[in-house]
């Protein structure tokens, strides 16, 4: 029986190549999308699952509350570790570690390495929580002494190629020319995905025994930094509420003077990978993107399922005869249902196999949407194969039940008497499904257009400062020597291809914000205002062509001595006329000028009150270089950059030269929008592709059915054009209805999306018109593949075959 079904299924799939191909391709796209999402979920879920007793490990994090504001930090102040060990009996192990984010140069036997990965300072406690296999050295002793370092096997291989773990012991590694350490152990790399994939562990005693102490260690309880972190392991049976209470008591005992309040919390180990509230070194799972992608996959699957339902029920009459025959031979309704569902399952399984084969390609295309560590090697493992099997079953049931019902329900007598209409199932249902397919496709097309329009608007909006022909060069942040920066600026100034150079802080617009509280006392009342800060010398205003509305430009100064405010700030302090605020003292310094407003961040946020000042010694670390006319083929610019690099090498011979064009900096403010746009592009393309396949299938079916009618009409004198429009009109009606229904839906969704931008593009009617036109043209093209040929065909052939 089963074999019989199997044979019929295969022969049916084979016999209807066009329809099978349409179904398999559509389903394969949907299944592929689901597969990628599954891989991502699987990947993100695999993080840090292999640690011993990980359910008892927590990270201690801080919530810091100011007046009206709060900040979260992944770190705690340094004294917390010792205090927890002493005062909270439930703590089995407390493992503080410091994240080294300042090391720039690593020297081994005269050879230099640049630090690309995170180095931490840790001790034996860290290794008792995150357990490694020790190839040489031991967790107990290796990190006891100052100036010792433990490497992972891979790192040891990079630094000391060819040496065995035992031979590496005793070798010297020098950090930043000043910290001389000796290798005291090698551990094998962690197997499996982990957020704690550090490769170099310097003993924490090193920090205490060197100048690093000033940088990391502060005895103050309110000195919280995400680079000083604490992992704790609790005893196996503890009352969490009690531990939390003890922890907050500990915090209260050491409450600082200021008006900030810190609450420490225990973050479960399993939460670390998914929680983005705490900015740290970890590549968090992007849950929002995961949800978005899941929705997309679901949408594509549904579209493909609709194709299957439509095509199968449309062709039901072909199978109806089989139903009739089988029933007259004693086949039951249930047996027939099972047979047709089995056939659907075969088709879905074929689609799954196709998906599995195409998936590596897909992973390549979608690389930028995927987490870095995700590779296609996970593709051919049991969990993935089981997932595909499960998905195939679910898709089979969802897409297959209704068609199977339609097919198995035919009564033999009606079939055998030839009383079956051309198609089974309800015609309105097929039409509705087709309309909803195109609605989805139409929605994605319109959304793509508007998102692109908003990005175009964001990039081309007048932000209130000059954006072109400017490059920025950041001096090494660990190098505090002010005179070097001055020298570099001088050298750049003399380059003929450079029009102007300013030394200052951040660019006018940047990703993020730095602000100070400004307090202005006008005699009667006090106005406190959060003010965005920008730093620069006199040339800063000139390079960026900021418009001075009143007063004068800044004078360069080593420390803050005067303010230039923007209009917003002027108004915030109660001055309608910019000239009125000149000479007013705010935060001990006079206001000497007012510039017009400019955007300090992406167009998501409103222009804030801003103060520009000069604080060269502390804050001027970036060269803002205005280049001359790019010249033929950008020759002038490439010369300028070569010469700036030469100047850099003279000043900072050991540091890497990097520069960035300002337009690029601004573009980077919109990476997530660009990502959305790219994703939408794909969605629109794939959604349309699947829907068009379904449409094509229906068109092929109807035209084949109407071959005779077409022949008769042509014999009676219908023109090719009349035939084409007759065949096309029915389908285009559906596309037009889908367009009309998609308008409110896309308007509503996009309206919400645009609301996240303070400065946004208009939702012009012509966007909808273009979206509709694009889909109409594409649908028309799809339909015409079949209709034109049918209309051209010689009527004699159609009629003779009868």
């Amino acid at each position: 029986m089963f074999k019989n079904y199997l044979l019929v299924s295969f022969r049916n799939i084979w016999r209807n190549k066009a329809f099978s191909l349409i179904n398999i391709m559509g389903l394969a796209v949907g299944i592929n999308a689901a597969l990628v999402v599954y891989l991502m979920v699987h990947y993100e879920n695999s993080f840090d699952k292999f640690h011993k007793d990980s359910d008892r490990i927590y990270r201690v994090v801080s919530h810091i509350y100011f007046t009206g504001d709060s900040v979260r930090s992944a770190g705690v102040s340094v004294p917390v570790a010792a205090a927890m060990r002493e005062n909270i009996p439930a703590v089995e192990t407390a493992a503080p570690f410091f994240i080294n984010d300042i090391t720039n140069r690593i020297a081994i036997a005269g050879k230099e390495f640049r630090s690309k990965e995170v180095i931490i300072y840790a001790d034996k406690d860290y290794f008792s929580l995150i357990q490694y296999k020790w190839l040489s050295g031991s967790p107990q002793t290796s990190l006891q002494q100052p100036f010792t370092v433990v490497l992972t096997e891979s790192r040891a291989h990079t630094y000391f190629p060819g040496l065995s773990p035992l031979d590496v012991i005793g070798k010297e590694i020098v950090y930043d020319d000043s910290i001389h350490t000796t290798v005291s152990g090698v551990v094998s790399d962690l197997q499996g995905n982990s957020d704690f994939k550090f490769n170099e562990f310097v003993s924490i005693a090193t920090v205490y025994g060197s100048g690093l102490k000033q940088y990391y260690v502060s005895s103050g309880w309110d000195n919280i930094s995400s680079s000083t972190q604490l992992l704790v392991k609790l005893k196996s049976t503890v009352d969490m509420a009690k531990v939390t209470a003890q922890l907050s008591m500990l915090g209260n005992q050491h409450k600082g003077e200021g008006n900030s309040r810190t609450v420490m919390q225990l973050q479960p180990f399993s939460d670390i990978h998914f929680n983005t509230d705490y900015p740290d070194y970890i590549n968090h799972a992007d849950l929002k993107q995961l949800y978005a992608l899941s929705l997309v996959a679901l949408a594509l699957l549904v579209l493909a399922g609709i194709n299957f339902i439509n095509l199968t029920t449309a062709q039901a009459s072909r199978r109806a005869r089989e139903t009739g025959i089988r029933k007259s031979m004693g086949g039951t309704f249930q047996q027939l249902m099972l047979q047709f569902l089995g056939e659907t399952f075969m088709l879905t399984l074929l689609a799954s196999l196709t998906a599995l084969m195409v998936a590596p390609l897909l992973l390549m295309f979608f690389k930028s949407f995927l987490p870095d560590g995700l590779s296609d090697t996970t593709l051919y493992t049991w969990p993935v194969l089981l997932f595909l099997l499960g998905l195939s079953i679910v898709v089979t049931l969802l897409a297959g039940i209704y068609p199977a019902l339609v097919l198995a329900r035919f009564q033999p007598v009606a079939v055998l008497k030839g009383q079956i209409n051309a198609a089974g199932g309800k015609v309105w249902l097929r039409k509705t499904l087709t309309i909803s397919q195109f609605m989805v496709a139409q929605f994605f097309i319109i959304a793509t257009l508007i998102v692109s329009k908003q990005i175009h608007y964001s990039l081309n909006k007048d932000m209130g400062f000059r954006k072109d022909a400017i490059i920025t060069v950041a001096t090494p942040y660990y190098n505090v020597q002010y005179n070097l920066r001055n020298t570099l600026q001088e050298k750049i100034r003399t380059i003929p291809e450079v029009a102007m150079v300013s030394m200052g802080g951040q660019t006018p617009a940047m990703d993020g914000s730095m602000s100070n509280i400004f307090i202005y006392k006008d005699g009667k009342k006090e106005i406190a205002q959060n003010v965005e800060m920008r730093y620069g010398d006199t040339a800063y205003v000139q390079v960026y062509q900021l418009k001075i509305l009143a007063g004068r430009n800044l004078k360069k100064s080593d420390t803050v001595s005067e303010w230039v405010l923007n209009e917003k700030a002027t108004k915030a302090f109660g001055f309608k006329d910019p000239r009125g605020i000149l000479g007013v003292i705010i935060n001990n310094h006079p206001v000497v000028g007012v510039v017009s407003d400019f955007n300090t961040r992406s167009v998501h946020t409103e222009i804030p009150a801003m103060a520009l000042t000069s604080s060269a010694a502390e804050q001027h670390r970036i060269m803002h270089v205005l280049l001359r006319n790019p010249g033929k083929g950008g020759m002038v610019w490439s010369h300028a950059i070569t010469k700036i690099e030469k100047a850099w090498k003279e000043v900072y011979p050991r540091d890497e030269f990097k520069y960035e064009f300002l337009d690029k900096t601004i573009e980077n403010l919109y990476t997530s929008e660009q990502q959305t746009a790219r994703l939408l592009n794909w969605c629109a393309g794939l959604a349309f592709f699947i829907s068009a396949l379904g449409l094509l299938g229906l068109v092929i079916f109807t035209t084949n059915q109407r071959t005779r009618e077409i022949g008769i009409r042509k014999v009676l004198g219908a023109t090719v054009w009349q035939m084409v429009s007759l065949l096309t009109l029915d389908f285009m009606k559906l596309v037009v209805i889908a367009f009309v229904l998609a308008i409110p839906l896309s308007w509503w969704v996009i309206h919400h999306w645009l609301e996240s931008f303070v400065y946004r593009t208009a939702m012009s009617w012509w966007i909808f018109a273009i979206g509709g036109a694009v889909m109409a043209i594409l649908a028309l093209a799809t339909i015409s593949v079949k209709t034109i040929r049918a209309a051209w065909s010689n009527p004699v052939n159609a009629l003779r075959s009868e």
Partner: protein, 221 residues
Amino acid sequence: MIQLQKISKHYPVGFGKNDILKDIDLTINEGEFVSIMGPSGSGKSTLLHIMGLLEEPSEGQYLFEGERVDKMNEKKRTQLHRGSIGFVFQAYHLIDELTVYENIETPLLYKNIPSSERKSRVADVLDRFNMVAKKDLFPSQLSGGQQQLVGIARAIIGEPRVILADEPTGNLHSDQAKIIMQLFKHLNEQDKITIIQVTHSDVNATYGNRVIQIRDGHIQP
């Protein structure tokens, strides 16, 4: 074997009804070869379908081997289809996706007959009908007469006690028709299978031993 008592069949048409069969009383005994004849639209096919349990009468009683069929549930009817009744159709109605062998085998699958027995029974029938060489062909590769032979082979493989044939030679030319009719006669005489056929042809009717004339839903005396 088959007893029809006051069988009527009508379809609703608009506000009225369209009578197909009216008060049919008919008894067919085991081993008979009956031909039902009549002009188009006289109701003979409907009568056959009712006897084959493919259609239900609007009124009247139908007894198959003494059992009330109109009282039977779906399961019992299916049992009758599997075991007692074989169908032969004018348009053959073979399953296009199955080979000759598989088409003949299908009724046995529904009877849950084990694979080895299926094999031998299909082989027997193929042999008897001289179609061993054609067993792997698909219906579309056969002539009409050959297709009908497969149709008959499929009808008798389940060893039914009655074969209902709806114009079995309607699509065949006379030579092929002759072969089919001789086969029916043979099945009737040798295998003692009751045969009821609907036919237009007086020649075909002569193969049987009883003719029932039907006109406007009534059996002509």
